[in-house]
Each structure stands twice: as C-alpha cells, then as structure tokens.
C-alpha cells in the first residue's frame, strides 16, 4: 500500500468512532490525527494544518458547526476541505446546523456529508475524492453501508 502523504484530522467525541475512522484512513495510506471536540481540533490546526478535516457535528464543548465557523474565519484555514460525518443529519440535533452548512451560509462550506454508520469503503472513497487522490484498492475489508450522500439525498 502506498502512502498518500496527506494528513487527515478526525474530529469526533466518540472514542470508538475516532479510532475506527482513524484506522480506516491509516489503512488507506493517510496520516491521521484525532480530536475529541472542536476546541482540541482548533488547538491542533494552530500547530499544523491538515489536508482534510473529518468532522462530527454534535459534540460537547465546541460543536462541529462552531468549529467550522472558527475555521472559516481564519484566512489561512478557510481552504481546508471538510467532510462531515454525522449521526444527526435528520433530527433536531444536527439537521439545522447541517442545512445551514450545506446551504452555503458558511463561507466555502462542504457540500458532501456522510451519515453514520459509515462503511470503510465509502468513507475512504469520500476522503480521496475530496482530496483528489486517485482510487486504489486499499485491501481493507468492506462492510455494507450507506454511501456518501449529497444534499437532498436520504
């Protein structure tokens, strides 16, 4: 397996989810760092700029949406692509935030999100596509799951 040379920051408050997503990406040839909430994620971004951020929306301390605001306000970070991975796409917890983000109310907001549970295959494919990295058989096991979703798709 070849390394992509890309750094992905995985932000999620659930430890098991962080480790799972990190493992998929590492197996896909990415360098991975993790953060348990938006504050920790911002601290990391200040020290090192990732090539992509995989972001959960509903988290204690600093939510994904607030993190995204903070990120976009800073010119140096505003171009970092963000992939939203949420379990709350259709409920009161995350729907409004997600709608705002997808409607472009946030400067250069992401247009694609993944809904939990995510399969290794669809997750790594979505990350690759966002980063423009060529598809490659990672040899990682595949599990049945929903694929990446665009706005309007359920």
């Amino acid at each position: 397996m070849t390394t992509t040379g890309k750094l992905v920051l995985v932000v999620d408050d659930e430890e098991d989810v962080r480790r799972y997503l990190a493992a998929i990406l590492e197996d896909g040839g990415f360098e991975v760092q993790t953060a348990a909430d938006g504050n920790v994620a911002l601290e990391f971004v200040e020290t090192r700029s990732p090539d992509l951020i995989s972001l959960d929306l509903v988290m204690p301390q600093k939510s994904g949406q607030r993190f995204l605001y903070a990120l976009r306000r800073n010119r140096a970070w505003s171009g970092i692509p963000v992939l939203i991975v949420t379990g709350h796409a259709h409920d009161d917890l995350g729907r409004n935030d997600l709608d705002d983000i997808l409607a472009g109310k946030m400067i250069s907001g992401p247009k694609v999100y993944l809904e939990k549970p995510v399969s290794p295959d669809s997750y790594v494919r979505a990350v690759r596509r966002q980063l423009g990295v060529e598809e490659e058989d990672t040899g990682a096991p595949t599990l049945p799951s929903a694929g990446p979703r665009k706005r309007g798709q359920v």
């Binding site: 659930e14 430890e15 098991d16 989810v17 480790r19 799972y20 997503l21 493992a23 998929i24 197996d27 509903v58 988290m59 204690p60 301390q61 600093k62 939510s63 607030r66 379990g87 709350h88 409920d91 009161d92 917890l93 809904e115 939990k116 549970p117 995510v118 399969s119 290794p120 040899g139 990682a140 096991p141 599990l143 799951s145």
Partner: protein, 483 residues
C-alpha cells in the same frame, strides 16, 4: 281650648310635611287638596283632574284605582307611573283609601304615593345581574335544596327548583362527601372548590364553585348562595396541551432512538473492521482492539435497551398522596455513603415541610435519582473537594418543587443546549443520554416541567416544578367530591 287647636295644627303639619305625596280626590276626579310634597312635585293641583296632574292625560286612566275604590270602598296598593312637573317619568307606589262621611258615604278618596324609581332600578339591576352573570348562580336552603337558579344554570342543568343541589349538579342521590355549601352553613365563611358535574345533556362539566352565606334580612343567615364558574373548556385545553407535550416527548424519543443506535452501530462496525483487518493481516493488537470495541458497544446496547424499557414501559402510574420530604430522605439514603467515599456530601434541605402531593412515587423517585446521580457525577468531574450536593423539596407559588444543586463542573452553553436531547451524554460510554429525557417525560406526565441553571466551573441546579393544580388526581378518588 288648647287641645283642638293643637290637634288641628298636628293634622295640618302631618298632612303637609309627611314624606309622601298626598292628595284628596272627589268623585269627579278633581283634586280638592294636596300636600306640600305633592305640589312641589306635580305643581299646583287643586281643582285639576288627577289623571291630568299625574299622567298628563285628558281623560280617566283605563284602570283607575280611584274609581274602583269609590265603587267598592277598598284600600288599594298599586305600582303606577307618573310624570312630574319637570316632565320626569317615575315609578310610584300608590295607596288609595276611601274617606267616609259620618253616614258611611264615600265622597273622597285619599291617595298617597312614594317614588320607588330607584328601588325599581336596583331590583332590575339585581335581576339582570342574577340572570345574566356569566356563571351558574343558585340559592340553597338548609336542606341543600335549590330555591332559585339563574337562567344560565337552568339552561345548563335544567329546571331544578326544589331539588337537592347534588342531584341538580351531579345527578347524585346523596350529598357529596365534602360540600362547600354545607361548610358555609356550618361556619358562615366563604368556601371555594373545584367540582365535576353532569349537565342535563350528560356532558361532564368542570366548575369552580364559591359558596357564601346569604342573608334575607333577619339576623344570621338562612340560605347559601353558590356561584359556579364553568372551567370545562379550560380543563379540556389543559388536558390537550399535556397530551400534546407527551406526544411530542414520545416523538422525540422515537426519532432519537434511531440515532442512538446509529452511534452504537458505528462502534460495532468499527469493532468488526478491526477484527477483520486484524484477521487478514494477522495483527493481534487489532484483534484485541476490535474485540474491546465490540464488547463496549454490546454493553452500550444492553444499557440502552434497559433504559428504553424503563422509558417506554406502559406501566400505569400509581398516583397516591405522598410526602415529598420522604422522597428527599430516600435520595440521601441511596447516595450518601457512596458519594461520601469520594469526598462528596449529599445534603437534604427541607425547611418548611411541603404539603403531601399526589404523584407516582416510583416515577418521581426515578427523576430525582437521575438528578442526584448527575450531580454526583458533576462533582466527580469538577474535581473540587469537598463538593456538596443539595437535595431540596419545598412549596413555591402554588407548585411543589424538588431541587438538586451541585458544586460540580457545571455546563457550558453547548452542553446546556443538548442537556435534554436524546442520547446525548457527556459521560462517555457510562451514559446513554436518556436520564434527563426520562426525567422530563415523567415530569410532563405529572403536568410539571424541568428547569435548570448552570455555570461552568461552579455547578448546576435542576428543578422539577409541579404546579399543584396540574398534578394528577389520586387513583382512589372516584370523583365524588362535593358540589
């Protein structure tokens, strides 16, 4: 001779100055004499016809009591309308009596009248008030029989005059156990209570009745007046609102369930990913990690199912009168020792013992245990020692209030916003995020609500507020309370 002179003077004085309008009329309806009051009111009258002076008519009135008294010699008392010298029409109470000569002939009648316009007006006002007031008004005697009922009452409950109030209001054959009318008869005080009755069309009617002693002029009182305000629509709206709140809570729970499971599913998928990639690559650490993930998330789903069962179980709440301070004591007994071991003190504060209240003790126990458990956790996370948790019960503004305050870590705005959302937990794998949701659901089922304040680093205070007039009725209450 002094006496006849004095008597003449007295008669003249009485005639002239009596507080009545007095006139003497002959058989041809001529006024032959009138006193000062009469002249002041109707103008100079002597020699003029009575119908002309009183009524400004040019012929005899249709039903003339003067003519009838001349005919049969009887005294008459009538209410009549007259027009005075200023043109004002007024109501008069008129006495007509014959003046007989020594041989018994009636040559004259004397007519005495009093202005009763004000009395008539007051009577009409009272009548209008009694009939039109927007509540049910009845007057009861000591046998609790309805001797008068206003129009609104008759329309709602039927023509009930003479029947017992409990029959009229509730179709019962016996007096109610607690009867505000009876209480008023006993102590002469005003009593108010809320009752449920049955209208003549069978509709259940909720009303708030106030009873007051009614004096009819003699010393003390012989009757009670009941005024009942219909609150059926209000109670119905309240019930509908509580039902809607309950449905909304259930809806949020069902929607949230899917997402709680999604998180666990992601964890399970993660476990399987680690296992499979560990097996494929022969990496033991991946197998260990995958196994750990699977175990943790299996445990999570077990806890979730247990909590969901308690959340959704269809147990009929057992509503009884309970003592709130006993619940506080139970919390102390439940948490004190375990908390003390970690330097956390759980303190009961019940200053004025609140009145007993109807609720399902087991459900409210669950709510309070959730709050105390959260408070102990908040102390643990806050890291301050010693750290205190206060459990309080009190009456406040007509509501029973349970309060749990801690000196723990507190919540920032984000966590506060999510406190009542489904499956949100700050306790990692230890919490399912259902505790506060369950607490709110139970509170709403009791007509109450949950409120909280919190400051990061200083602590939180959660309150369960149960307005007493919205608490459920105790199960044993068969709705036979007094009317």
């Amino acid at each position: 001779m002094i006496a006849p002179t004095y008597e003449n003077w007295l008669e003249t004085e009485l005639f002239e100055n009596a507080p009545l309008n007095i006139s003497v009329i002959d058989r041809d309806y001529n006024i032959v004499k009138a006193n000062l009051n009469f002249v002041t009111l109707f103008g100079e009258a002597r020699g003029r016809k009575c119908f002309e002076v009183h009524m400004r008519r040019d012929q005899v009135c249709e039903s003339c009591s003067v003519a009838r008294t001349f005919a049969d010699g009887k005294v008459r008392v009538n209410e009549e309308i007259g027009v005075d010298v200023s043109g004002r029409t007024a109501h008069y109470l008129v006495h007509v009596a014959p003046i007989r000569s020594k041989d018994g002939r009636i040559d004259y009648v004397i007519e005495m009248s009093t202005d009763i316009t004000e009395t008539k007006r007051l009577k009409l006002e009272y009548q209008t008030l009694f009939e039109q007031v927007p509540c049910y008004v009845t007057v009861l005697n000591r046998d609790l029989r309805v001797i008068r009922a206003n129009r609104r009452f008759r329309k709602k409950f039927g023509e009930v005059s003479g029947t017992h109030c409990y029959e009229a209001f509730k179709h019962q054959i016996r007096a109610c156990r607690t009867c505000p009318a009876q209480e008023t008869f006993e102590d002469g005080q005003i009593h108010t209570s809320e009752q449920v009755g049955v209208a003549k069309d069978g509709e259940t009617t909720h009303y708030v009745v106030t009873t007051a002693p009614a004096s009819r002029g003699d010393a003390g009182f012989s009757h009670v007046i009941e005024m009942a305000v219909d609150v059926t629509a209000l109670r119905r709206a309240e019930r509908e609102r509580i039902d809607a709140e309950r449905l909304a809570a259930v809806g949020r729970t069902v929607a949230g369930l899917a997402h709680g499971i999604k998180n666990i599913l992601t964890g399970l998928e993660g476990g399987m990913y680690f296992l499979e990639s560990g097996l494929q690559g022969g990496k033991k650490e991946r197998l260990d990690e995958g196994w750990g993930m699977l175990t943790r998330n299996m445990e999570k789903i077990s806890v979730l199912v247990r909590n969901l069962l308690s959340f959704s179980k269809g147990r009929v709440p057992r509503v009884e009168l309970n003592r709130p301070e006993e619940l506080v004591a139970e919390m102390i007994a439940l948490y004190r020792d375990a908390a003390e071991a970690e330097g956390i003190t759980v303190v009961a504060e019940v200053a004025d013992r609140p009145a007993p209240a109807p609720y399902d003790a087991e459900s409210i126990h669950t709510c309070l245990a959730n709050l105390v458990s959260n408070a102990v956790d908040a102390c643990r996370m806050g890291g301050r020692t010693p750290c205190r948790v206060f459990v309080r019960a009190r009456d406040e503004n007509g509501a029973l209030v349970f309060e749990v305050e801690d000196e723990g870590c507190g919540m920032d705005q984000e966590v506060r916003k999510l406190a009542f959302t489904n499956f949100f937990s700050t306790k990692g794998s230890g919490g399912t995020g259902l505790g506060l949701l369950l607490t709110r659901k139970i509170s709403q089922e009791h007509g109450g609500r949950v409120e909280f304040d919190s400051t990061p680093g200083r602590g939180s205070v959660f309150r369960l507020i149960f307005p007493r007039d919205r608490l459920p009725r105790p199960d044993q209450d068969a709705g036979e309370e007094g009317a």
